[in-house]
């Protein structure tokens, strides 16, 4: 029975659809407080050559309904030339664009979450776009590394 379970789990882990379970999201914890991490995040996004297009709240009324934090934002960003090229030739990727990172506080620390963009390679046959998705993914990792 245990061996059977192992096989089922192995198949699930090996199946790309499930492999993305671990890789679908990139999660990062910073030991900085929310305002510090937010500043570091936006600085690093800029240093990687991206433009922050919008910082959006999604937490209107969060504290009113008993939440511990109202420090919850989505940061949208991208390089206009890249985004333009992709949305022109691969419009089916538009729902996941521009790039975004969710940032929220957890006590005195800050958590950040982004999609792993490489999982959307299934939506395109174009090699250039696949390479671009790969680079976006690397850049998000690199940005997170900057926000210690």
């Amino acid at each position: 029975m245990k061996n059977l379970l192992a096989i089922i789990l192995l198949v699930m882990v090996a199946n790309p659809g499930v492999a993305s379970e671990s890789e679908g999201l990139i999660i990062h914890r910073s030991t900085q407080t929310f305002p510090e991490a937010m500043l570091a995040l936006q600085t690093s996004i800029g240093e990687h050559g991206y433009t922050v297009s919008r910082v959006q709240r999604v937490d209107i009324g969060l504290t009113k309904s008993g939440y511990k934090t109202d420090k919850y934002r989505i940061v949208f960003f991208g390089k206009s030339s890249e985004i333009r090229a992709v949305k022109q030739s691969q419009p089916q990727l538009i729902p996941y664009l521009p790039l975004k990172i969710v940032i929220f506080s957890e006590n005195n620390e800050t958590l950040m979450v982004a999609s792993n963009m490489t999982q959307f390679a299934v939506l395109t046959q174009q090699k250039d776009t696949r390479v671009l998705l790969e680079r976006w993914n690397n850049d998000i990792h690199s940005i997170f590394t900057d926000v210690k």
Binding site: V18, T51, S53, K68, I83, P91
Partner: protein
């Protein structure tokens, strides 16, 4: 002459390659760095993070063998947030386990494969009396997985899902038995020997817990792995009319329209935005707050958004596929929400593209 040169060069090259190989083989993976990259986001830098169960308690570390930790890392807990780690090497996983061990310096129990053979019928009864209040009638675990900033960290630890295939694969009978005999000091999981059960009772319960392996994985989990990441529909109307249709359809589903904007807004110089892609954002605050309480990571896809796109006179309406998100988050508690959102998105888009 040149021949000799080539030979020396290739010998030097070979020696270098061998040295490099020796170096990399000896360079043990850095467990601490691996932990910080892969685990600390949820479990905290010191293992006290409070997502799911804490990892640093001596009563936990001293009662589980290395094989349990290694398999838990490799396979994760399907549907319970804890992700599998298919790409880490065995050496990397071992290094992470050594790092976990550094949280407490007690004795490490050996892996004992011996099966516990008890009376499953009695075990079922005893389980219902002693365990189901926390772990659920079928071992499905306590509500919530702890990935929530709304949950104060000093609240009791959420009871894990002990019917989870990842748990059952990682845990040996003897580890489960030891957990029931000794409990886990510092958590709500108490010692059932001290609570008055006999060792025979505990064997019966372990046998019943092992029988959870026979529960089939939910159909939902199988289906959601085949979803496309996006929903795309062709519209019969022009862009402007379609945008209005989307707004009306969202309102009809009790959403508030938050903002309608050009896709490129903020990304390019004001006034140069393309007007061939329009985003409609809409929201229902109650749903939003409820779902953020279940898993704050979902904010990545909130508020709700539908994009209307025109290409060569053809108009399409598209959005993320909420069902696809289920597989991204590995959180069964989100499945209901994702199914609901899937119904809402398809209703709105179908209505708008008629």
């Amino acid at each position: 002459m040149s021949h000799v040169f080539i030979r020396t060069a290739s010998i030097a090259g070979l020696a270098l390659a061998l040295m490099m190989a020796a170096l990399t083989a000896n360079a043990a993976p850095n467990g601490r760095a691996l932990y910080e990259n892969n685990c600390s986001s949820c479990h905290g830098v010191n293992g006290k993070g409070g997502v799911g169960v804490p990892l640093s308690l001596p009563s936990f570390l001293n009662s589980v063998p290395d094989s349990y930790l290694e398999k838990t890392i490799r396979y994760g807990r399907p549907g319970r947030v804890m992700p599998p780690h298919p790409t880490l090497s065995d050496a990397q996983i071992k290094a992470i386990v050594s790092h976990l061990r550094s949280f407490s310096n007690g004795k490490v129990p050996a892996t004992l494969e011996a099966l516990v053979k008890g009376d499953i019928k009695r075990g079922k009864k005893l389980y219902a009396q002693n365990c189901s209040s926390c772990h659920g009638a079928n071992g499905e675990g306590g509500q919530g997985t702890g990935v929530t900033f709304s949950r104060p960290r000093d609240l009791p630890v959420i009871a894990p899902a002990i019917n989870n295939p990842g748990f059952l694969l990682a845990a040996t009978d003897s580890m489960i038995k030891a957990t029931l005999m000794n409990g886990r000091e510092g958590t709500p999981m108490k010692s059932f020997l001290k609570a008055g059960l006999k060792e025979k009772d505990i064997d019966d319960i372990v046998t019943f817990v092992r029988s959870f392996e026979k529960i089939k994985p939910s159909a939902n989990r199988i289906v959601k792995n085949n979803e496309s990441p996006v929903l795309v529909y062709d519209s019969q109307s022009d862009l402007k009319t379609t945008v209005e249709n989307v707004k009306n359809a969202a309102k009809a589903e009790n959403f508030r329209i938050i903002r309608v904007q050009d896709f490129e807004n903020g990304l390019v110089k004001k006034g140069t935005e393309s007007n061939r892609e329009v985003i409609v954002y809409f929201c229902n605050f109650e749903t939003l707050n409820n779902v953020l309480a279940v898993d704050p990571r979902v904010g990545l896809f909130l508020p709700c958004r539908v994009t209307v796109v025109e290409r060569e006179g053809k108009v399409q309406v598209m959005s993320i596929n909420p069902r696809y998100l289920s597989s991204m988050y590995n959180n069964d508690e989100l499945d209901k929400f994702c199914d609901e959102m899937y119904a809402i998105y398809t209703n709105i888009i179908e209505e708008a593209t008629l």
